[in-house]
């Protein structure tokens, strides 16, 4: 996990680029149909690429690329605010080791300009899980369970009155995490995830 190699960056950049291009194309075509922010229940799910790192005094600290997925749902509160629950998962690998990071947060999406461009800021606290284990299960897993926070930004590109394609950029981080393995604990660990993705959002 010594940073992101050029080959790995290219590997992840290609599908991510395709997703972004698709989203922008479809969304751009639908811009004319936009009307204020939606009201009521909402559901959003998507995929993307993410780059996770674990930092501590003895940690490698490099960012590892991997696939991410997210699922969120909730309800709007007025024109500017949507409240809900959001889960984000990330999976990477480094040789024979699988790396998994997930978070579930109570999220608020704030739309600063409900009558104009439908972009939003999101944030919320929750829990964060991290796990590193060997492919063959031959070694003990190293895990984390801690408080997590999510902050992000997105843009609802309306395809129809009820459907939007939502490019997203999120940052997930742990707060006060410990690594646990075989009864040993390492304090002062900081997990983080930078995530780029595209979701379908139903209002």
């Amino acid at each position: 996990m010594n940073g992101i190699s050029p080959r790995r960056a290219i590997r992840y950049a290609r599908p991510l680029g395709a997703i972004v291009v698709l989203g922008v194309t479809l969304g751009g075509a639908a811009q004319a149909q936009q009307a204020g922010s939606a009201r009521g229940l909402w559901l959003s799910g998507g995929i993307g690429m993410g780059f996770a790192a674990s930092q501590c005094d003895v940690c490698n600290g490099g960012r590892e690329g991997g696939l991410t997925a997210n699922l969120a749902f909730g309800s709007t509160v007025g024109n500017r605010l949507a409240l809900g629950i959001e889960g984000v998962g990330w999976r990477g690998d480094e040789g024979p080791v699988n790396l998994t990071l997930g978070t579930v947060v109570a999220v608020a999406r704030f739309y600063p300009n409900p009558l104009g461009a439908p972009w939003y800021l999101s944030a919320g606290p929750g829990v964060l899980f991290y796990r590193a284990d060997a492919d063959d299960g031959s070694e003990p897993a190293i895990t984390t369970r801690s408080v997590g926070v999510l902050v992000g930004v997105g843009y609802d590109l309306r395809v129809s009155d009820r459907l939007a394609i939502t490019p997203q950029f999120d940052f997930v981080a742990s707060v006060g995490a410990n690594l646990e393995a075989e009864g040993e604990s390492l304090t002062g660990v900081r997990h983080s995830l930078l995530r780029f993705g595209v979701a379908l959002t139903f209002h």
Partner: protein, 410 residues
């Protein structure tokens, strides 16, 4: 005049390098000849053998003032760079390349022995070091992916392999320095006790070989694994058509288990390095008057059953049998104890409450925050790494210090 200036410059370098910040510099000496406490018993004892071309005067230029103000021999190359003469022995890797050099300074060979009122042959002092060694914190592949700890390690052990001393003597000077990216740091000078006095472990099967059952001496952790005639007959003197296994039959492994402890027994730090020799010039032979068998003699031996040594170090020494009559101290013999490595293994520190500087007896015991008669200054990081102990790999295996006229005893 030029030669004199060179000599003065070299002397100045050696002395200045002693004054490390971490291990302290209790001496204000400006040159070896100015050591306020005079020469140590380790200084000036080397004399040239039949194969050596340097004089003792040339040899004794490589000196340093120790923490006690006495003059000690220190590392030098096998060949004097100024005159080109050879000393016939080596002290391992040139410590001037170590990243710890600035803190540690030149290593005074025999400092611990001096404090302990012991004597050890000059040629036995060996240095090994490596910078930025990738350490493991455990947890297998998972740990190696998540964690990244590197250490600079520098060690001096008195590990001669040319005589029979190690058959019975478990006490050997160790000066061990490590500094790691996780905060682990240790500067230890002790008389390490490896196994038990009067006996050793047979290297090829681990059996205890008692040499001097009545010999008194301190017992320590670890073990000295040394080959004997049984190993030689099992792995080196082989039937026609078979190749000798010098690795199985002749390898020595000195396996340390050493700690620094307070007076009430608390372990402040501990290490467990292995120091291995792949081509010693001795094995234990109870049939020999001095109990020392010479591997080079095996190259010419044929047992009544027709077994003899074949290949490997014998071929290397005798040019595949074309050179006859080599003696054990001939520089052409590959059995000179100059192929070694060091398994770093674990470095534990449990000193979160400090202080950073402790004083112990020569065995690393009775640690006190204040010096006492016969104590040695130890430096230990004020951390506790017990939950994630860095452990290091083998270093030095690909190095051979045995060229340039080096020969047994070495």
């Amino acid at each position: 005049m030029v030669a004199l200036l060179r000599k003065l410059l070299r002397r100045s370098f050696v002395v200045l390098s002693l004054c490390g910040l971490t291990t302290g510099c209790d001496s204000a000496a400006v040159g070896p000849s100015d050591a306020p406490q005079g020469p140590s018993r380790a200084f000036g004892i080397w004399t040239a053998g039949a194969f050596d071309t340097c004089t003792p005067e040339v040899h004794d230029q490589f000196a340093v003032v120790g923490p006690d103000g006495k003059l000690y021999p220190t590392w030098h190359p096998p060949v004097d760079p100024e005159t080109g003469c050879s000393f016939g022995h080596e002290h391992g890797r040139d410590p001037r390349g170590s990243d710890l050099r600035g803190e540690v300074g030149a290593i005074p060979f025999g400092y611990v022995n001096e404090v302990a009122d012991l004597f050890a042959p000059h040629v036995g002092y060996k240095i090994e070091w490596e910078n930025d060694v990738a350490m493991s914190l455990g947890f297998g592949d998972v740990g190696s992916v998540l964690f990244d700890v590197k250490c600079d390690v520098l060690a001096e052990l008195h590990q001669g392999s040319g005589g029979g001393g190690a058959f019975v003597n478990p006490q050997h000077e160790l000066q061990y320095h490590a500094k790691c990216s996780d905060g682990t740091e240790l500067h230890m000078r002790i008389l390490t006790v490896i196994g038990h006095a009067g006996e050793f472990e047979r290297s090829c099967d681990g059996a205890t070989v008692v040499v001097a059952p009545d010999l008194d001496g301190p017992d320590g952790g670890g073990r000295r694994r040394i080959p004997d005639r049984t190993c030689v007959e099992r792995h080196i003197l082989v039937p026609e058509g078979e190749r000798s296994s010098f690795g199985s039959g002749l390898r020595e492994s000195w396996q340390l288990s050493q700690s620094l402890r307070t007076a009430d027994g608390h372990r402040l730090a501990s290490i467990g390095p292995y120091f291995n020799i792949f081509n010693p010039s001795r094995y234990h032979d109870p049939a020999s008057p001095d109990l020392v068998g010479r591997p080079i003699d095996l190259c010419y031996e044929v047992t009544p059953n027709g077994e003899r040594a074949d290949g490997g170090l014998c071929d290397e020494s005798t040019a595949e049998g074309t050179i006859t009559g080599l003696t054990f101290d001939d520089p052409r013999s590959a059995f000179n104890g100059a192929r070694r490595d060091m398994d770093i293994n674990s470095i534990r520190v449990s000193n979160s409450e400090g202080p950073r500087v402790w004083y112990t007896d020569v065995y690393g015991m009775n640690g006190s925050v204040t010096p006492f008669p016969g104590s040695i200054r130890q430096v230990i990081a004020t951390i506790d790494n017990e939950n994630l102990v860095p452990s290091g790999p083998s270093i030095g295996r690909d190095r051979d210090y045995g060229d340039q006229g080096v020969h047994s005893p070495n």
